[in-house]
Amino acid sequence: MNKNLKEQVLRSGGVNVLKCMRCGKCSGTCPSYGEMEYHPHQFVYMVEKGDIETLMKSESIYKCLTCFACVDRCPRGVEPAKVVEAVRLAAVRQQGNNHLEPSEIPALLDEDLPQQAIVTAMRKYAK
């Protein structure tokens, strides 16, 4: 368990994972559940346990749609999406760990793709 990392994630996320009552509603409502290796409730639980590196290495951190369904529907106000984002930021902030490089973008474009998609991708996946 990496204490510093856990503290950093909790501070950055501004979330109290101890409020979780393990109902699993976040994972019940998550539209990206099927794409994730670790699911929203696991993010909360693993952050609580301090097992953050596992999450940082997982592709799951890029699968969250930031749709806040888990945030609004969590009965305990845990806000799992903010936990996911905090872990993702911890990952992409590491040197050379950008998930998306500007050079990769042209290949992904099509003529109708709105700017919004590009700026959000950069914001979410790169530092």
Binding site: K19, M21, R22, C23, G24, K25, C26, S27, G28, T29, C30, Y33, G34, H39, H41, Q42, A69, R73, C74, P75, R76, G77
Partner: protein, 663 residues
């Protein structure tokens, strides 16, 4: 010369762990007038009390200070002990060094200092205590039960059994409450109506019970033993004394499209209606929101068909006033509104229902005559998903922070009944925890799983998507399998959280009783006085005090009745002697005090005074009726001359405490 005894309690380690009790006893021993200062492990125990008693006798004490837990806990205990040793009980003061010292502080040195100061304040006060003796006030031998559900019915029956008159005030047209809507009861699966309706009939036939149905409490005045309650009897546009309950009017009424609240709006009733066949009183009521006669003056069919001539379109709300010695609150609960939880599609799909709606759907007297059919297309559901904890255990504004307590059991019951009656139906229950503490409860739940093969899944439903083909996509997590499920369901049943009835809050204000932040009534003591409110003479019955199932409700109803009977048995009760009194020599007769007295306890008399020059002078002075005064002290501050003072909390006593604390 005062001879004061100080007794410092360790409360095991509750006090002694953070307060140096020996140091407290030592320090207080040096206070003026203190002749004995001791510490002891458990002052409230038999031997602890004996210590106090023998000190009173041997040291001829004139005052006692106990440094212990809150006076709300044991003030009475020590007052009684003092009285039995021959000391006036009001010469005892408590210094609260547990709840307000040892339990909130960690540092022994500062906690001990504070305990000493609290002790000194109590010693300073007890110096000025005077012996007080209680007045007696008569008890009206009649009880009021507010709410006519199973809790209220049970309480009323028990009080009546003891020979006292009791009135039930019920806001609906019939008594019966939620239990009347329930189909079967757990864990025995006996029919709710079969056990409830005989009690309803018994209540209506008992000579000691008066039922005010379709009525509300409008105002409460007075105090324990002597409440005056104003009851509003709402206009039902039917003369209760004439209506025979034949039901002809309800058959003939042309307005048939009124959502039937007894069936949770799952079918319709007529504008003139009797809620259900076993209603008590079995009297029709006209719904003014739908009755065409009352709305537009055109119709009058019910009046024409009523051979008893009971229909009265001109009926008005009436008020009656009655005196009571005791009041029992039994206002019950309701499921919460589910508008904020539409991820479960309750507002979008008629086949997503609450558990109480399912009760009606399964009930023989319900909209489908007891056959479980989907509300949308009246087809048999083959896959049913139950969702637990909808709005319970929530830490947000939408839901309730508490566990609603009854849902795990009634869901097991529903699941089991469905599997019993329709074995081809698959039943899924999504749970967070299954909570079944209770006699034969866990066994009951296990039967649902083991014998009836109900699929219990640890996880929560996250999204319900109704589809045009009538199927309902239920997306949920299965935490143990670590997967997200999609179930093609025919019906979804939501275990909505329960909340106190909305009428409880204004009622609590009228009764001057306390509620918690969830609007449940607060009991006088969470463990030792569970059916009394902190306000004397007001008792609590059923779910108005907290979520409860039927056996618990009935038990509490009977317990509240026992407490009420205990009060009604007395011819008089001892009044609190800590009441206001006016010093006639100082009173100006200005009427300020009278204006702030909530009880009307102050009157004015013209009194003759002998003047120094031997003449006499007649002056208007205040006089307090000690049986009516409740001792709030509002008058003492309103009085400009300081003539009005409060026994037990006198100006000089409070200032002595102030001085001791500020020293």
């Amino acid at each position: 010369m005062q001879r004061i005894g100080v007794f410092v309690c360790h409360c095991g380690t509750n006090i002694a762990a953070t307060v140096d009790v020996k140091a407290v006893a030592e320090a207080l021993g040096h206070e003026p007038g203190v002749v004995i200062s001791q510490d002891y492990q458990y002052m409230c125990s038999e031997s602890g009390q004996e210590l106090v008693k023998s000190a009173i006798r041997e040291q001829k004490l004139t005052g006692v200070v106990i440094c212990s837990c809150s006076p709300r806990m044991h003030e009475n205990t020590f007052r009684k002990a003092a009285a039995s040793a021959g000391l006036n009980p009001y010469l005892v003061e408590i210094a609260n060094i547990r709840e307000q010292c040892s339990w909130i502080h960690k540092d022994i040195a500062t906690a001990t200092d504070k305990a000493i100061i609290l002790g000194k304040a109590a010693v300073a006060k007890v110096h000025l205590n005077t012996p007080l003796s209680s007045m007696e006030s008569p008890v009206v031998k009649r009880a009021l039960v507010i709410g006519g559900g199973i809790a209220g019915i049970q309480t009323a029956l028990d009080i009546a059994e003891a020979g006292f008159d009791v009135d039930i005030v019920e806001k609906q047209p019939t008594i019966g409450g939620k239990m009347a809507q329930i189909d079967k009861t757990f864990p025995t699966l006996d029919c709710a109506a079969c056990i409830l309706t005989p009690k309803m009939v018994e209540a209506s036939q008992n000579e000691h019970i008066t039922i005010h149905s379709f009525s509300e409490v409008a105002d409460v005045k007075g105090f324990v033993g002597n409440f005056t309650v104003k009851i509003k009897k709402k206009a039902r546009y039917v003369d209760e004394t004439k209506c025979t309950g034949c039901g002809l009017c309800t058959e003939k009424c042309p307005m048939k499209k009124v959502p039937n609240e007894f069936n949770m709006g799952l079918d319709n009733r007529s504008a003139v209606y009797i809620p259900f066949a076993q209603a008590v009183p079995k009297v029709a009521t006209i719904d003014p929101n739908y009755c065409m006669m009352l709305r537009s003056g055109k119709c009058g069919v019910c009046s024409k068909v009523c051979s008893a001539g009971a229909i009265d379109y001109k009926q008005q709300d009436t008020f009656i006033e009655q005196k009571y010695g005791a009041i029992v609150v039994a206002t019950g609960f309701n499921p919460i509104n589910l508008d904020k939880y539409d991820e479960f599609a309750y507002n979008q799909c008629p086949d997503v229902v609450t558990s109480l709606e399912l009760e009606r759907l399964m009930n023989a007297a319900g909209p489908n005559g007891g056959t479980l059919l989907r509300p949308s297309d009246k087809s048999h559901p083959h896959t049913i998903v139950f969702v637990q904890c909808v709005g319970s255990r929530c830490d947000d504004e939408k839901g309730k922070p508490y566990c609603s307590k009854i849902c795990c059991m009634y869901t097991a019951k529903h699941a089991m009944l469905i599997r019993e009656k329709y074995p081809d139906t698959e039943v899924y229950v999504f749970y967070i925890d299954v909570r079944t503490p209770g006699k034969n409860f866990d066994e009951f739940y296990r039967r649902a799983v083991e014998q009836y093969n109900v699929h219990y899944i640890k996880g929560m439903v996250g999204k319900v998507t109704p589809k045009s083909d009538g199927k309902i996509d239920v997306q949920a997590s299965d935490l143990l399998a670590n997967e997200q499920l999609h179930i093609d369901a025919d019906m979804v049943v939501l275990a909505a959280a329960i909340e106190p009835d909305k009428t409880a809050r204004p009622l609590a204000t009228m009764l001057t009783t306390q509620m918690d932040t969830n609007d449940f009534f607060t009991e006088a003591h969470p463990k030792l006085r569970p059916v009394e409110s902190a306000t004397a003479g007001i008792f609590l019955s059923g779910a108005c005090q907290g979520p409860k199932d039927i056996p618990e409700t009935v038990a509490q109803g009977s317990a509240a009745a026992a407490k009420a009977i205990g009060l009604l048995c007395k011819n008089s009760i001892t009044c609190n002697p800590c009441v206001a009194h006016s010093d006639e020599l100082m009173c100006n007769g200005c009427s300020s005090c009278e204006k702030v007295c909530p009880y009307g306890a102050i009157t004015y008399i013209d009194k003759e005074f002998r003047m120094p020059d031997r003449t006499t002078k007649v002056r208007r002075v205040a006089s307090v009726n000690p049986a009516v005064c409740q001792g709030c002290g509002a008058c003492t501050v309103a009085c400009p001359s300081g003539a009005m003072d409060l026994s037990g909390f006198s100006n000089s006593q409070i200032m002595a405490e102030v001085d001791a604390i500020c020293k």
